[in-house]
């Protein structure tokens, strides 16, 4: 009896251990650095190649640098580089970077930092290198505001990855079923009226709202010229526009025109499945969300169309810039000049910006390339969304205000994700006005201003 129990124990342990090993060993050549999702050594094998280390939180971004390193090494054969790119999970990478910069050792040469976390790295004395010498000469060819969100005291630290122009994604099939002509939706009233039709005549809702993220809210208030903080850094979280917008969205929810996004956010597995099955007829999201459609919602291919956002007033904006990744050179780089020059080459050149579209499907921050021939070459995004993507973008080019960033944004984010959306949409324990006022108080007491 005793012996058999021992054997069962041992075998079950063995099974578990073997299963664990099997998983570890299966990764093949893509492993390397501990804990990294993906590691790639890109570029020249030549001995004189300078090695630069790059961290990102988004595996897809590595593809862009593969392309950039290749072009660099062809163009400057006398200064070859070898880029050691490592992708880590979001939290993991930002925390490692924070500790590395805090302690003065262990940081990479170049790093991708997400816009929501960027303010953390600008606190105190930024441990990143200013890129002004490369940014200033070309600034007028770019959507300027995309540099402002990664800057402090007139120094530009982060190089933008996209504009993040927010657009409306409509599911044409559902809209046709409801008898709504998408192009007739111009104002927010039109949008709500169309939503009523959709809710009445189809099984879908017009819109899905995020309760644990801010994409269904932030772009909408930015579009109306409001934000969480104004240009002078004053907290405007509970101002009239923000309250009214939250009330409108909550109204859609109450009238059955919208519902809460399954999984609580647009990046949840549950949401991808729901949207793919035609759960909602539209969402308002930045351009960079295109790649989520192509990757996770294959059944909607050819059914989705991209249009400007409905405007709130007669002369209101039809888009807003949201989200972002700023790429920066750290002060721990052993080759700061080379790292900066390469980063500028990758992100601030015309070829680089075309590559942002071709490789990643992002709307490049250099607007001068938007109408170039290279942008019209067929790719998976045109095949998915139709050929008029950039017409929409060019149309709203001057209406893309960008978000105001400062070091308190993470605190605001916390309040919205945990309290505001939950208390208003889900538990309905507070009115939009109460929730925003309380959040604003909490932010003030937390940040001391």
């Amino acid at each position: 009896m005793k012996k058999s129990s021992l054997y069962i124990m041992l075998f079950s342990m063995l099974f578990v251990i073997l299963a664990a090993c099997g998983k570890g060993g299966g990764g093949g050549g893509s492993e390397g650095a501990e804990g990294a999702d993906k590691t790639a050594v890109i570029g020249s094998d030549a001995e004189d190649a300078t090695e630069l280390k790059f961290w990102t939180f988004q595996e897809v971004h590595i593809k862009f640098y593969e392309d950039a390193v290749k072009r660099w090494n062809e163009e400057f054969p006398d200064r070859p580089i070898k880029l050691k790119a490592e992708a880590y999970p979001y939290d993991n990478m930002h925390n490692n970077l924070l500790l590395a910069l805090q302690s003065g050792t262990g940081a990479p040469d170049i790093v991708d930092i997400e816009v929501g976390r960027f303010p953390n790295y600008l606190k105190g004395e930024p441990q990143l290198l200013p890129m002004n010498e490369y940014v200033e000469p070309v600034l007028d060819q770019f959507i300027e505001s995309r540099f402002d969100i990664y800057s402090k005291d007139g120094n530009y630290y982060g190089m933008p990855t996209h504009v993040g122009a927010t657009v409306a994604y409509y599911n044409k099939e559902i809209m046709d079923q409801a008898g709504v002509d998408i192009d007739s939706i111009v104002t927010w009233e039109d949008y709500v009226a169309a939503g009523k039709k959709v809710a009445e005549s189809t099984d879908s809702k017009m819109l899905a709202l995020e309760s644990m993220d801010w994409w269904s809210y932030w772009p909408l208030i930015k579009q109306q010229g409001s934000d969480f903080y104004d240009e002078n850094g004053e907290l405007t979280l509970a101002n009239e526009t923000n309250t009214k917008t939250l009330e409108s969205l909550n109204g859609l929810l109450k009238d059955g025109i919208a519902e809460l996004a399954p999984g609580g956010e647009y990046h949840a597995e549950e949401f991808y499945g729901y949207m793919n099955d035609g759960g909602a007829a539209s969402i308002l999201m930045p351009m960079w969300y295109m790649s989520r459609f192509t990757d996770y919602m294959p059944d909607l291919k050819g059914k989705m169309v991209i249009r400007p956002m409905p405007k709130w007033t007669e002369d209101g904006n039809r888009s807003a810039g949201a989200g972002g990744t700023g790429t920066a050179v750290t002060n721990q780089s052993e080759h700061p000049d080379l790292a900066k020059e390469f980063l500028a080459y990758a992100k601030l050149s015309e070829e680089g910006n075309i590559a942002l579209w071709e490789v990643l499907g992002f709307d490049p921050p250099m607007w001068t390339v938007w109408e170039s021939e290279a942008m019209k070459k067929d790719n998976i995004y045109y095949q998915y969304f139709g050929s008029d993507i950039f017409n929409t973008l060019v149309e709203v080019k001057d209406e893309i205000d960008s978000i105001n960033m400062n070091e308190n944004i993470p605190v605001v984010q916390e309040q919205l994700f945990t309290n505001v959306f939950n208390n208003v949409y889900r538990s309905q324990s507070q009115t939009p006005e109460e929730a925003l006022k309380e959040a604003a108080e909490a932010v003030k007491s937390n940040t001391g201003n």
């Binding site: 009896m1 129990s5 069962i8 578990v16 805090q102 499945g273 889900r426």
Partner: protein, 310 residues
């Protein structure tokens, strides 16, 4: 003469060697305790002290300054109390579940009437070998909010409406407690079974002769004799509960609706890393340490561990 003197002097003054150094009774004890002392100093005492120092600072690159007690002044806010109450409820639930069930199951598994006891023993222990994160990801899928989720399908059979597990305060707590209990049940059963092995059979036989039933034997023999094990299990469950973090992280990452999943350690992480406010995070950590210390002492006093001669 000369040779003899040399031999004599060798006897009088033995050559110093590494071997004799390590064999010396004065040195050896220090050599043996050195690994513990060193790891204690570098991995425990140093972080502890610097953590306490950090809690009085505002920590930013190039601008670290002492700011007195202002980190501590900010601690008593609604979010902290929410975290504290979540953690306390979690500790009470997990500690009671993980003490009561393992005792009952250990007695059942130990009974000669239970068939396939070995199989159950192994099966119940296996979850302890998995990582909380891996198991949690599976739990998250099982408790998805859609009607097709495993848990919702099961309660659907029983005639209940689907539940949005991750979005309600009660169901959220249920998920965390369930994950923790599932994982640690087997380990605690092992402790209690080891304790049961030390209970003399004669006591039961004597009790049976006196006409004691199953329940009386359990109440008056098993429970009192398992007391040392119970104290141990309760203590580690409480400490484990207060430093809980993974069970919450795996369901909601770093922000949960209405903070239903926020624990004290989660709050430290959120403030320290997400808000880049290391000083404040450290101050919460110090408060947590004090709380655990007080509760552990109180509990040991209640159980009478400090009384001599028992």
């Amino acid at each position: 003469m000369i040779g003899r003197t040399a031999a004599e002097s060798e006897i009088v003054k033995p050559k110093w060697s590494i071997k004799s150094f390590f064999l010396s009774k004065k040195v050896v004890p220090y050599v043996f305790v050195a690994p513990f002392i060193l790891s204690f100093l570098f991995l425990f005492l140093y972080p502890l002290v610097s953590g306490v120092v950090l809690s009085f600072q505002s920590v930013l690159p190039g601008q670290t300054t002492f700011i007195g007690l202002s980190n501590y002044e900010r601690i008593l806010n609604p979010t902290f109390f929410k975290a504290l109450s979540n953690t306390t409820i979690y500790v009470v639930l997990t500690t009671s579940l993980l003490t009561i069930f393992p005792i009952i199951l250990a007695v059942l598994l130990n009974s000669k009437f239970t068939r396939f006891a070995d199989l159950f023993r192994a099966a119940i222990f296996i979850p302890a070998l998995t990582s909380t994160i891996v198991a949690g990801v599976i739990f998250r899928l099982m408790f998805g909010e859609s009607e097709d989720g495993l848990a919702n399908t099961v309660i659907g059979f029983l005639g209940f409406d689907p539940v949005e597990w991750r979005f309600g305060a009660v169901s959220g707590m249920f998920l965390m407690v369930l994950l923790c209990s599932w994982k640690w049940l087997g380990v605690n059963i092992l402790y209690f079974m080891a304790g049961l092995a030390n209970v003399p059979k004669e006591l039961y036989e004597a009790a049976e002769m006196d006409g004691a039933g199953v329940f009386h034997k359990f109440r008056h023999i098993t429970i009192p004799l398992l007391k040392p094990i119970t104290i141990y299990v309760v203590t580690i469950s409480i400490i484990h509960g207060f430093r809980m973090y993974e069970e919450s992280y795996v369901f909601w990452q770093d922000s949960s609706p209405g903070n239903i999943g926020l624990t004290i350690v989660g709050y430290i992480y959120q403030q320290g890393f997400k808000m880049n406010d290391m000083g404040f995070g450290a101050a919460i950590g110090v408060v947590l340490m004090i709380i655990i210390f007080i509760i552990s002492i109180a509990q040991l006093v209640l159980f009478g561990t400090f009384k001599k001669g028992e």
